[in-house]
């Protein structure tokens, strides 16, 4: 059973290994890819043949558990349909690799990547056709789309249409893929499983018909987009910008057949639906007519083939549409493999032929080609065989296919009444006539006659190697057309029980030709009509024909895609882009009004009870203190808003910070108070630094705040809402999660300080994520400091201004010594806080802040460089190491078979040790790194150290170009402009 899984994953492995080839080996990557399809093919047939129980008469499933809880297993189905398609994929794949070797001739660029993509595609295809699990099928299905995107766009750097075509194919098929996913999920909703065999066994619950119809339509959207059925037919001709081996493989033989395959796969699921027949026949045969029409009027050889492929795909979809099990259908399937195989043979061959023509003559334009038969007879024969098969001439596989189709369509007219039942035969006859027309057209216009001037000018002969695969395919079409018995045997061999008819009649081409029947008469009529139309059109002149613009859907698609960025810009502009200063007000106003609405919904009685229970006059001393603090805060904030000097504002800000810290004490949160004081100091330092930096640049930072009225209104509203949040959000005494931590902190986490144990142990994962946030902030800071101006050259270094040290490093021995002493004391304190944290207020955050502040202190007193020398590492690296240590401490648990972030504790004598300490060390290092990285550059800049100023100006400054005016602009407020907006 593993043979099958290896067969599917072997191409994936190859896809990863082949790009590793280098140099001359890379040029020969194709030879490494060549064994892959053969091996897969062999493994698949080995699985089918060797094992008892895996045969095609009784479909069986190979299942390996994967994500069973999501209903997703690696389960693969062995039945006629899947093995047939897998054989086509691997078999044609082998021929394509061979052809690709000749096509690129070993001198193509990036061959390793090309064949890797090809292998990737092959693996995805095999996975899709063999999947039993519909979700798995979807995954592989999307992978094929991805691989085809890479393959179509392979020459994106050489041809513009290449990337356009690739994008069109990807967007169209992926959009359909989403619909397919929705359909598959609906199917699971109905039947309770993604597994096809379980879906087939289950009975449809009554009342789910509507859902089933929805699932059907969604799945068909996916199939139609993949198989380029109207209205998605536009992507296939555009995807022809791909290299020819890709077109031959993806766009004739395999990928575009996926839609057809899935329709065949889902026949037993959906074909009882009433919608099955009309949807598939109308869209299928409609696409067929459209495709053949377009093919007749195309002048590009690849375009003709692409549109004829679209037509053939439509035909196949329509064919399945006729075979509904429900009322008016033809019942079980018959001969569908013939139609698919026939098309794969001749179309892949023809694509190869076109590739050869393109390669040898430099053009694919039918108006310029001519006389190619004399120049390359081998290709000419291959082309003749392929075209004969496409036109459905006798003794080719195409003839059998067409006869059988005509027969089916004729039967279909008798199986019901109404115009819909005559639609297939009418469409089929018309399309067949057109097919004859362009088949003759290609051969006559490109191969017969004398070589044209355009051909001779560019001519170089193709190698024999490249001509052999199409010849082989053409001959197979001929062989199967003559040995029609084999053809029918193939069909019978791959028949799926309960889906196909039980017994297939043996086909005989001689019998068909000698026995006068309705299909034969139709056939003769078709060929004659086609020839006549061709002659008439040649008289008129083919140059006069062309596809009218409104019918080319790709134009709509392209303008849609091109319009997207435009629409996005419009929308952004509409929302208020270009004015980022609007964003905060808008966000705040929305938030505040939302909160206010919530407040309005609160019960009135709640407020009544609240006002009763509230006692504004506090009982205890602590309560009075809090009121005093609030009063202090009011004064401080008032000063902050009123004063116009930055020093006053900073003073007021620090008072507010201390008020909050004392509040934390009163809330019985010593850890918080410590952290708050430390962070408040660091924040103030930071703001002081930027103020100094602006001073050094000579910018006035005082005065001029702009209109204030509307800001005051928003501020008051926000404040009121926030105040209400305090009153409303408090929980009752019982509803506290924290009670658990309080109860168990000693026994489970071995620490008395519940805040610390929550941080490092109980909710350590949260803390881990939080220090990751810190790391991200640091990385962001790094990005801000690293980014270089694009026009660096504009800033001449020689014009450098003399650095003016506004904040010189003091040259005072006593101060410097005291600073170093303080540094040592602070770090001892930091270590003390660190180890104390588990049982007393303290911990990694606080210790880290103390350490960081001590470094800042040294930076102020002895200069940044001396301070940096104390830490041997870049701040970002330090923070990253910190996060790494925290993660490592969490990994110890899994090593011992325990959950992730399980913490170990023990005592070494009287000293507590445990993984929480390790975790806390990570926190510590992260905090120190953040402080270092984010504060030091600014400090350095403030110091105006000449070297740094040079670096700064070299890196990002344009100040030199725009000298700053030092005149202070504290203008009288009377000159303020009136303005309404939030500028």
């Amino acid at each position: 059973m593993f043979g099958l899984i290896i067969a599917i994953f072997l191409p994936f492995v190859a896809a990863f290994l082949i790009p590793l080839l280098r140099g001359k080996w890379e040029e020969r990557a194709g030879w490494f890819a060549l064994p892959v399809p053969f091996a897969s093919l062999a493994l698949i047939w080995h699985t089918v043949g060797a094992h008892e129980g895996y045969n095609l008469e009784a479909p069986s499933v190979v299942r390996v558990a994967w994500m069973t809880e999501f209903g997703l297993d690696l389960s693969f189905r062995i039945d006629g349909l899947s093995i047939f398609f897998a054989s086509v994929v691997a078999g044609v794949g082998a021929l394509i690799v061979l052809y690709g070797l000749g096509y690129f001739g070993g001198h193509g660029k990036r061959m390793g990547r090309f064949f890797a993509y090809l292998c990737l595609f092959m693996g995805a295809m095999l996975g899709t056709v063999l999947s039993n699990n519909l979700l798995l099928l979807f995954i592989f299905w999307e992978l094929t789309g991805l691989a085809s995107f890479l393959l179509i766009g392979f020459q994106h750097d050489e041809k513009a249409e290449s990337s356009r075509g690739a994008r069109m194919a990807l967007v169209t098929t992926a959009a359909g893929g989403i619909a397919l996913l929705a359909g598959v999920v609906l199917l699971r909703h109905i039947y309770g499983s993604f597994e096809l065999d379980e879906i087939l066994r289950a009975t449809t619950a009554p009342g789910s018909e509507g859902l089933l119809l929805g699932a059907f339509l969604l799945c068909m959207l996916g199939c139609f987009s993949k198989s380029a059925i109207f209205p998605f037919h536009y992507w296939l001709p555009n995807a022809m910008a791909a290299p020819t081996p890709v077109s031959a493989y993806l766009h004739s033989a395999t990928m575009v057949k996926l839609g057809v395959f899935l329709v065949a796969r889902l026949v037993p699921v959906f074909s009882e639906l009433e919608a099955w027949m009309p949807v598939l026949t109308v869209f299928g045969f409609g696409t067929m007519l459209l495709g053949t029409g377009f093919a007749v009027f195309s002048h590009d050889l690849k375009g003709v083939l692409a549109y004829s492929t679209v037509a053939q795909l439509g035909l196949l979809i329509g064919f399945y549409g006729m075979h509904s099990i429900g009322e008016g259908g033809l019942g079980r399937l018959e001969w569908d493999y013939i139609h698919i195989l026939n098309h794969s043979l001749y179309k892949a061959g023809l694509f190869m032929v076109v590739g050869i023509i393109d390669h040898s003559t430099g053009t694919r334009d039918l108006r310029k080609l001519g006389g190619l038969f004399r120049l390359m007879p081998l290709t000419g024969i291959a082309a003749f065989l392929g075209l004969a098969s496409m036109a459905g001439l006798p003794f080719t596989s195409g003839f059998l296919s067409k006869e059988l189709l005509l027969k089916s369509a004729l039967y279909f007219t008798e199986s019901g009444t109404g115009a819909l039942f005559f639609w297939p035969i009418v469409a089929l006859v018309l399309a067949s006539v057109l097919k004859v027309v362009f088949s003759i057209g290609i051969f006559h216009r490109a191969f017969l006659g004398r070589p044209t001037h355009a051909v001779e000018e560019h001519w170089h002969a193709p190698s024999v190697w490249v001509q052999l695969p199409p010849l082989f395919l053409g001959l197979s079409a001929l062989a199967l057309g003559i040995a029609s018995g084999t053809f029918s045997q193939i069909n019978a061999f791959f028949a799926v029980p309960k889906q196909h008819v039980a017994d297939f009649a043996t086909l005989s081409v001689i019998g068909m030709l000698t026995h006068i029947s309705a299909p034969l008469l139709f056939s003769i009529g078709i060929v004659i009509a086609g020839a006549v139309i061709y002659v008439v059109c040649t008289r008129i002149g083919w140059e006069r024909f062309g596809i009218s613009k409104p019918l080319l859907f790709e134009n709509y698609f392209n303008s849609g895609i091109d319009g997207l960025p435009y629409a996005g810009k419009k929308l952004t502009y509409l929302i208020g882009a270009g004015k980022p200063s609007w964003y905060i007000p808008i966000t705040l106003i929305v938030l505040v009004s939302f909160m206010a609405l919530l407040l309005l919904r609160v019960d009135r009685e709640f407020f009544a009870a609240l006002s009763l229970s509230m006692d504004p006059l506090p009982a205890a001393r602590a309560g009075w203190m809090r009121w005093v603090l609030v009063a202090v805060a009011f004064v401080a904030v008032g000063t902050l808003l009123r004063t116009s000097t930055i020093l006053g504002q900073l003073l007021a800000l620090s008072i507010v910070g201390i008020v909050v810290a004392v509040y934390f004490v009163l809330y019985h949160a010593p850890d918080l108070a410590l952290t708050q004081i430390l962070v408040e100091s660091a924040s103030l330092l930071l703001i002081v630094l930027i103020v100094f930096r602006l001073r050094r640049g000579g910018v006035s930072i005082e005065g001029g705040k702009g209109p204030w009225q509307w800001r005051a209104v928003v501020g008051v509203l926000a404040g009121v809402v926030a105040g209400f949040m305090v009153i409303l959000f408090q929980s009752g005494p019982d509803a506290k999660i924290g009670a658990y931590f309080v109860k168990h902190t000693n026994e489970l986490a071995w620490g008395a300080n519940a805040v610390n144990t929550v941080l490092v142990d109980f909710r350590g994962f949260d803390t881990l994520l939080e220090i990751v946030v810190l790391l991200i902030a640091t990385l962001g800071g790094l990005g801000l400091l690293m980014r270089r101006r694009a026009d660096q050259s504009a800033t001449g270094l020689h014009q450098r201004r003399r650095a003016e040290d506004l904040f010189p490093v003091p040259n005072n021995f006593v101060l410097r010594s005291a600073g170093m002493v303080l540094f040592i004391v602070l770090n001892v304190l930091s270590v003390y806080f660190f180890f104390r944290g588990h049982n007393n207020p303290g911990g990694g955050f606080i210790a880290g802040l103390v350490c960081g502040l001590s470094l800042l202190l040294v930076g102020f007193i002895r200069g940044v460089d001396r301070s940096r020398a104390l830490v041997p590492m870049n701040g970002v690296v330090l923070a990253a190491i910190g996060v790494g240590i925290a993660i490592l401490s969490g990994l110890l648990g899994p090593l011992a078979g325990l959950p992730w972030m399980y913490q170990f504790h023990t005592y070494l004598g009287p000293i507590y040790v445990g993984t929480p300490l390790l975790f806390d060390l990570g926190v510590f290092l992260t905090v120190v790194g953040v402080v270092l990285k984010l504060v030091f550059p600014l400090m350095k800049s403030v110091h105006g150290l000449p070297a740094f100023v040079a670096e700064e100006e070299h890196r990002y400054s344009s100040i030199e170009d725009e000298p700053i005016d030092i005149s202070h602009g504290n203008r009288p407020s009377g000159s303020r402009h009136k303005e309404g907006g939030f500028h």
Partner: protein, 138 residues
């Protein structure tokens, strides 16, 4: 339910002033406003642990009962530090904008030409003043 009227008042004050400052066009005011906002937000979270007039710090020892809820405290502790990280990032951002383009207010950042509000123009004299006023409103 408990009386936290004072906390509510303090939060309202800090939050309101913070919002008022953050809406300012001067980068420095925005920084200060941000500090006030994070203080207010931390107080809101902490206040959810209930009336502070009863209870003990959540350091659990023998014979000590009635510890307050440690969870909001743990949340706020990390929030304070993260608030600092974000503040430092914003400061660097403003520093960078200043170093790059010489702007210190939002109006200047939007329009390196002349700000349409003279009182907000912080005397940077970046670009020729011609036509700036009309251009902005057009």
């Amino acid at each position: 339910l408990s009386s936290q009227l004072d906390t509510a008042l303090l939060v309202a004050l800090l939050f309101g002033a913070g919002v008022y400052l953050v809406l300012s066009r001067r980068f420095l005011c925005v920084l200060i406003g941000f500090v006030l906002l994070s203080n207010a937000a931390n107080l809101i979270i902490l206040s959810s642990s209930g009336d502070p007039s009863v209870g003990m710090p959540p350091v659990i020892r023998e014979g000590v009962a009635g510890a307050v809820d440690p969870l909001p405290q743990a949340l706020v502790l990390t929030a304070i530090v993260i608030g600092f990280g974000v503040l430092a990032y914003i400061t660097l951002l403003f520093y960078r904008m200043y170093a790059d383009r010489g702007v210190v207010t939002a109006s200047q950042a939007l329009d390196t030409g002349v700000s349409d509000d003279p009182s907000a123009a912080l005397v940077c004299r970046p670009v020729p003043r011609s036509g700036g006023k009309e251009g902005r409103h057009a």
